[in-house]
């Protein structure tokens, strides 16, 4: 069972240390997004990376449309991975919707994580003016999903089908592996709907685990107002506004990202937390 989960979710464990940091990717990408940041923590922590079912190198056979129609299915992936590795009091780092997924897991099992580190999280993308600014109107999100669909007719869909029909040509699946953002178009489409049309504002209030919110200074996906909203409603949270712009500081500004995470963890654990 444990071994099954580790294969199903393409779990990679590295590093040495009693505490574990679990890194959860955001929408659309796989565990490679952590390649510029996670290695810095390997001297002091056990580092765990994984893919959601339906993304990256996970077992696509395990995908059930019904289970993954909302973020709770993905939160169950996190819980399963933690259970398989018998993690307790770990540190969770999640990018974007990965942060919300970690939050949902932490609500279900409050003892699982000691700290949540949320990079560019948004509990709700749609505006609900004047009470809430999520940054998007419905047309914007539909436009985004349309753009995804247009891209998938181009390559992912084609490749997935070609690979299925050509098991004797492994170079084709190599091509798909190289396209690390490619997933099955149906899976990606449903994940996009689950992500961008979700509203987890009520769940934010239920979290008891202390957290760090890393908010980019100019993020078109999770604008600064959303970061402030998260900070106001998330008990025991610390908000850091980064110099980094964009939505992927762990890729665009890995040094600043590592520095802010390690600063937070150093003061939490009163000991050095990064290499060197």
């Amino acid at each position: 069972m444990n071994q099954d989960i580790l294969l199903r979710n393409n779990v990679k464990v590295t590093g040495k240390g009693e505490k574990t940091i679990l890194f959860a990717p955001g929408f659309g990408c796989d565990l490679n997004v952590w390649s510029l940041t996670a290695p810095y923590f390997e001297d002091h922590f056990q580092v765990v990376l994984f893919d959601y079912v339906g993304s990256g190198q996970s077992d696509y056979q395990a995908y059930r449309a019904e289970k993954y129609q909302d973020l709770n299915g993905y939160a169950q992936d996190v819980l399963d991975v933690c259970d398989a590795l018998e993690l307790k009091e770990a540190i969770f780092v999640g990018h974007s919707v990965g942060g919300i997924i970690g939050m949902l897991a932490a609500i279900q099992e409050p003892d699982l994580f000691e700290h949540l580190i949320l990079i560019g999280p948004s509990p709700c993308y749609l505006n609900e003016l004047p009470n809430y600014y999520g940054g998007f109107e419905k047309e914007d999100l539909e436009g985004l999903i349309q753009m995804m669909d247009m891209n998938y007719i181009g390559w992912a869909n084609y490749l997935a089908q070609v690979i299925m029909k050509n098991p004797e040509r492994p170079e084709l699946s190599q091509q798909l592996e190289d396209n690390f953002c490619s997933t099955d178009p149906e899976v990606a489409h449903r994940f996009a709907i689950a992500t961008f049309f979700s509203d987890h504002r009520e769940d934010v209030k239920k979290v008891r685990v202390p957290s760090l919110i890393l908010q980019c200074s100019d993020d078109s996906i999770a604008p600064i107002e959303v970061g402030r909203y998260m900070h106001r409603h998330l008990q025991n949270s610390t908000l850091e506004i980064m110099e980094a712009t964009g939505h992927c500081p762990h890729m665009s500004h890995p040094e600043e990202t590592v520095q802010l995470i390690s600063h937070y963890l150093t003061s939490a654990y009163k000991r050095p937390v990064t290499n060197g």
């Binding site: 390649s35 998007f136 985004l144 753009m147 690390f180």
Partner: protein, 324 residues
Amino acid sequence: MDRQLDSAPFGYFTLDDAGMLMEVNQTLLRLLGYQLHEVQGKHINLLLPNASRSFYQLYFFPMIRLQNKVEEMYFSFKSKDGQEISVLLNALRNERDGKVFNDCACLRMKNRIEYEEVILAAKKDTEKRNLLKAKQIAELESLRIELESKQKKLLAVNESLLEMANTDGLTGLRNRHYLQECLSSYFMPDTEQFLTLSFLLIDIDYFKKVNDTYGHLTGDSILQKLGNLLRDGTRKDDVAARYGGEEFALVLPATGKVEALEIAERIRCQVENADWNTYGVTISIGVATKVPGDTENSLQSRADWALYYSKDHGRNRVTFGTEE
């Protein structure tokens, strides 16, 4: 910028990792209606509609940063006058003089985008139809399951009706009707000569007196006890039935004269000595065994004759009905 690149038949621009436009060629500037000084050093968001801004963050940047290339990405720009312009985008991450550049080339899609939109619409339509089909199949399936379960119920009801039609209500034994059918089956032309068969008729002695002395409830109870005793003694293919009133019958397939007489005698003894039998009830039995040329009637007649012989010769005994 190289003059040829500046006016190449494709848009060309360079981004740093923060998304700032470092260089833009004239072809792209003309397409979007901007002057170089308006865009250089600005964030690419300036040139993008909202959907593309998100798409850039979700797909373009992670891919160019980690894979160093983007191929055939469908993307759209927004011109200065607000027109959305679709392009096909390729990008390479290149290092020059120690600095990293995300070099991008884009080709405008005009006719092609229309084809692709038609394809996408057709794909969505197909998906919708498939979904509908799946739903209809699921509905049919649930109807089929419902039908099956109703059929099962009906079969069960039929079975219990049949059971009721073949069973004697008081003793729970088979009734006379069933017994006759069962006997007939042993006299079918093709089975006739091969099967040995014995038939027992059993009658309670002085049953009227029992009823008159102890009441009909006791009489019924004795019928039930005798019924149970007969049922408990039957082997797999034997049939015990209530023949009428206080008369019972046993069909004993594959049983010859000697064995049938033993069985009859055992039953007679069991009744005489049964622990429920505080009334001194006894039974008389007539036994017949099938011979060639027998019919179901002739067999029963001989058993009947034998029973009356038992009755006429002291009761509480077993008689074999010999053929004339």
